[in-house]
Point group: C2
Amino acid sequence: MPLEDVYRYVDANQQMFVDDLVRLVKQPSVSARGEGIIECARIVEEMMRNVGFSTFTIPVAQGNPVVYGEIKSKSSQKTLLFYNHYDVQPPEPLEEWTYDPYSGEIRNGKIYGRGVSDNKGNIVSRLKAIQALLETTADVPVNIKFVAEGEEEIGSPHLAPVVQKHKKLFSADAAIWEFGGTDREGRPIIYLGLKGVLSVELRAKAAARDVHSANAPLVPNPAWRLVWALNSIKNEKDEILIDGFQDNVESPLDEEMEYVQKIPFEEEEEKQDLGLSEFLHSVSGLEALKALLYRPTCTINGFLAGYTDKGSKTVLPRKAMVKLDFRLVPRQEADNILKKLKEHLKHHSFNDIEVIEHGSTEPVKTPIDNSFVQTVIKTAKRVYDKQPVVYPTSAGSGPMHLFRNWLGYPVVSVGCAHPESHGHAPNENLTVEGFVKGTKFIAAILYDFGVS
Amino acid sequence: MPLEDVYRYVDANQQMFVDDLVRLVKQPSVSARGEGIIECARIVEEMMRNVGFSTFTIPVAQGNPVVYGEIKSKSSQKTLLFYNHYDVQPPEPLEEWTYDPYSGEIRNGKIYGRGVSDNKGNIVSRLKAIQALLETTADVPVNIKFVAEGEEEIGSPHLAPVVQKHKKLFSADAAIWEFGGTDREGRPIIYLGLKGVLSVELRAKAAARDVHSANAPLVPNPAWRLVWALNSIKNEKDEILIDGFQDNVESPLDEEMEYVQKIPFEEEEEKQDLGLSEFLHSVSGLEALKALLYRPTCTINGFLAGYTDKGSKTVLPRKAMVKLDFRLVPRQEADNILKKLKEHLKHHSFNDIEVIEHGSTEPVKTPIDNSFVQTVIKTAKRVYDKQPVVYPTSAGSGPMHLFRNWLGYPVVSVGCAHPESHGHAPNENLTVEGFVKGTKFIAAILYDFGVS
């Protein structure tokens, strides 16, 4: 079978592939502060061209460009789209890195650097899988669309209008999402969904200036207003009290629970990593995993009011703000939740509190029985020679709904990270072994999808 | 009567007095950051010596020195103590000052500078009143003790042990407190009490590090913990729900209310100054004034958790803190309230919340019918030729209880500020006229107390 040639090509060219990944890692691309974005987009486009893609860059008004490429198959009508992002999280705190975050240092079989696992390793791995197929078979098994956006790490604020405007460009029969890897036992992990997220900021104001707290009997305190508003939104049992918040929330389906039960949830490792003796409300085992994957949440991300330096100051602050995110599950909709939040505040007489939206994505899921999902599961089992771990959905979020819900095709997330890859954290890394294996996995998915 | 000679001396030497005040204002003495403290203490001590005080400096372990001085009377056994502070608030925001805060600029009859009204003007005014008495009568009407501490603006954290250790030094028959002035009609204001204040910080911690908010179903959120704890402490009606918080709270006495009713409460000016269309809970008039003077309060001074910069960040913070002050009224005690707060948190299962005390002072009051109070009221009426405004207590706080409660003598607060003196704010100022009149007022109090 031709895949053996492909694998041989990958093994033979491993060093070249790693060199390309190191080159991409050395280029900073921090979307949070617009650092190195254009330079990085150019490198990605150049790498795509070198593989054989016809490429172009979709400019984004007041945002970072989307790099786009296509390769036509000579043998198939099917199309597979890869969603990637070339931007990375800020590398701080720098002092916690053993090597420079933009060095691409390789030690003990691990490549270190900001973005190497999230998501530059997958970008290069996917391009190299396609290159290997082209070089060994002079064709690709299906038409390929390759998308790399530059704002994933800041919530993809401009991707929706781009997809909306260029629906045809983004049409496909299936897609591979940006993240994934193997677990501690080396089992490949396959993710089939995401929670949605709605990020908001609540702001309260009262007096014209900070006043002496001796005036407290007469002057409203915006920090107290936010405390009471928040308390009306969620109680100590973590029950979200917004009227209609739970409306339409879909319970985990039976066929999903079958897979959830098989997930080897590394509970003790998780707790140790988080520095917790137990999880919230003492949940554990399957109950904890179910909460993680299926419970909508409301999180205080930040709160700021008044004097926050050393010691005390008898000040009554003139303003206060809190940042919240709501994680949403299937059948909840971000816009609807925002509307209900506003109604809730109005109904509870918090008319003095302003609600600012900082972006949202929708909950999204591809059914396990989808034929593309089944293909990927089978391919994973064959390539890794281990039973894959299937997450019917995941706790994270991203703009997957634009593809799955708007354009209507199945989306599966796989990649080449490992449990200690430290995405978003210092000493982010990828093993060369995981990178190479992940490259073969992508080639095999393309092949199997072509013949399926 | 000899006071006429004293007044003439004050008028004749007005320029010299103002020069001394300007000299003191030019010396920064910001206790919040230990700026110019020792230099300022030395100038005050030198000024006291020049008047005729025998002085010394009481060193304060890990704190700012207390400058102390005495002058014996040849004709009286009575002793009057003056409590002052030579430290000032930080001058920031600097850009809002018309003149340099340490320039002592004089324009249109006003002396400008940080500390000129709070409390350096009163320090110099009092010293000059004593000087005038000594120069014109070769005696002082009563024994005088003059205290200037260096930490009032940071809550007098080290004064209690100093007073405790040197009880004899601070013993007296009556005391004049540090602040006061005239109202918009030029009526002298006499304050007879203060609220207490208890400053605390509540801290909550959970995970070992900030985590991605996708983990919200499993990881406790310290910011939410504080929100719920705060909500259990005070409800939306501003009712403080700590068990026993209201125990022993003394209602305003009938004789106090007689005076409170006479206070010309400048409600509209206050609202306008604060930028409010109405006061908290729509109180107004006598009800508002009564709340201001007699209601114990709980104020959020500051709140900090997680990400507080622009936009959104899906972070679940590992720690959160809130700073609170409780303003206390007669028969409440700071230590007791702190104990009750801790019990409250324990009782409501907030064992994860740490309580840190940042200092306290007790509520304090001198009865209106006290003979020294009556003397000061009469003296004020004569000197200003206007009915004085008597506040049986005030909304502010300070270490007055060390003198009034521990040492047991009456304490009355008068001074030479005016309603636009802007204490603690940019463009702090004192009118030369108010300064001179206040100096005569102090001389008259000393004289009247001597013959009373």
